[in-house]
């Protein structure tokens, strides 16, 4: 019992490293917010572009999206961070983490939005077009509002999975929670900081999970 307390809940260690863990919390939150905003926006735009059914463009979208869905995020980050400088593209760890996870989230989001667009009944398109609405008007006012509702549950799940993988950014030296905690653990020769990191992740992501439940019920169909 004592061993557990010493190794996981050492108050002295906690007090000493709390500031640096909190710094990490800030970085994680910033990174997560940026990824959610840019990832969902990019995914949405790609799905809308795909709705235009321009063959060459769609091939390109599918190719890129499939690649980013297949690659492990950690591999993408390492390639961006360690390989791209050799071709003259140098980005900070933060930018690499943001860009990598944005592309991954956008890829999944694009597929989810696209499935949503496809699942809107053809009759909806026909009804709207028969009243004189154009393609874009139909997409915006009739199809997308329905498609987005259908996509909210898979989208919130995927968003959570990807934003919490900001922890991987520790491999490219982003001072987020896990990086700070690992450093603190090394300095203090005690695993308490890892416990603090776990708690910090819960504090950040549990509300997100709860929020997603609320969003899912809020935007469900009135039955």
């Amino acid at each position: 019992m004592n061993r557990i307390a010493e190794n996981f809940f050492d108050l002295e260690v906690m007090a000493k490293y709390l500031p640096s863990i909190l710094d990490g919390v800030l970085v994680t939150i910033q990174l997560a917010i940026l990824i959610v905003l840019s990832g969902l926006a990019l995914g949405f735009v790609l799905a809308v572009v795909r709705a235009f059914q321009i063959r060459a463009v769609n091939w390109l979208i599918v190719l890129v999206v499939d690649a980013f869905r297949a690659l492990p995020p950690i591999v993408i980050m390492i390639v961006f961070y360690f390989a791209l400088p050799f071709v003259g593209i140098s980005m900070s760890g933060f930018v690499v983490a943001w860009l990598s996870l944005t592309l991954v989230l956008a890829s999944f989001a694009e597929e989810i939005f696209w499935t949503g667009i496809l699942s809107v009944d053809r009759g909806q398109w026909e009804a709207a077009r028969s009243t004189g609405l154009g393609f874009l008007q139909t997409l915006r006012d009739v199809v997308l509002p329905q498609a987005v509702r259908l996509t909210i549950p898979p989208l919130t799940n995927r968003t959570i999975v990807i934003t919490k993988s900001t922890a991987i950014a520790s491999v490219v030296a982003v001072p987020e929670i896990l990086t700070q905690a690992s450093a603190a653990q090394a300095f203090s020769a005690n695993t308490t900081p890892l416990m603090m990191a776990a708690v910090a992740y819960l504090v950040i992501f549990l509300p997100l999970v709860v929020l997603s439940r609320w969003v899912e019920s809020r935007f469900g169909w009135k039955r």
Binding site: A127, G134, Q146, W221, K222
Partner: protein, 242 residues
């Protein structure tokens, strides 16, 4: 008002319409009957280019809507369409369904659109359900909202694609009542339907279609009492059950 000249439509190797000529005069109600797969829905959908005819001309009030330089969105608001499956927008209220095109296509301000939308809903007897969502309405009410959605644009001609086929029998009457009122107010209507009773009572002319062709056409009395073609007789015997 609505004129089809040698309209053909092929889906791959299958010829769904084999050269249809049809003239629907102003204020006329023309009924199309025929077995499923006879091309009657395809014909109707060619009239607002939901299906692109493979050949031929479709004139609405003198304008060939198949011509490449016609603004089809501008033309479509003059051609109302009612679908078998209603196709109401589930995320909008009844009023929202009716006013969407008023605001987006006719660019009406919200107040004006709502006023006209409420009037259109009133016209189909649903003024008090303006704020209801489609899933809160019965099938008959949904179809009447769909009719109001088309009528609000004040079309020159209305197309009905089996408007009562998806309805429970006790709800059919309410939709037919609305169509009867439209007819009395002088709307030009082209109706694909199996409601033979309604055709007999309300139609000016009845067309019998089979295998992509108009087999025969005439007054309801002529088609129903003394059909000339064996195929018509056979079809009528099957649908009326004697």
């Amino acid at each position: 008002m609505l004129e089809l000249e040698a309209v053909r439509k092929s889906f791959g190797a299958i010829e769904a319409l084999k050269g249809i000529d049809l003239l629907v005069a102003r204020q006329e109600l023309v009924f199309i009957i025929g077995p499923s797969g006879s091309g009657k829905s395809t014909l109707l959908r060619c009239c607002n280019r939901l299906e692109e005819p493979t050949a031929g001309r479709v004139l609405v009030d003198g304008v060939d809507i198949v011509s490449p330089d016609v603004d089809i969105n501008e033309m479509r608001r003059h051609i109302g369409m009612v679908f078998q499956s209603f196709n109401l927008y589930p995320h909008l209220s009844a009023l929202g369904n009716v006013t969407l095109a008023l605001r987006r296509v006719l660019k009406m301000p919200r107040d004006e659109a709502n006023e006209r939308g409420r009037a259109a809903l009133d016209g189909v007897g649903l003024a008090e359900r303006a704020d209801a969502y489609p899933n809160e309405l019965s099938g008959g009410q949904q179809q009447r909202v769909a009719i109001a959605r088309a009528l609000a644009l004040e079309p020159k001609v209305m197309l009905f694609d089996e408007p009562t086929s998806a309805l429970d029998p006790e709800l059919v009457g309410s939709v037919l009542d609305v169509m009867r009122t439209m007819r009395e107010s002088g709307m030009t209507m082209l109706v694909v339907s199996h409601e033979m009773g309604f055709a007999r009572e309300a139609a000016d002319r009845v067309l019998f279609m089979d295998e992509g062709e108009v087999v025969e056409a005439g007054s309801p009395a002529r088609i129903f009492e003394s059909p000339e073609h064996a195929r018509t007789r056979e079809f009528l015997r099957r649908v009326t059950g004697h």
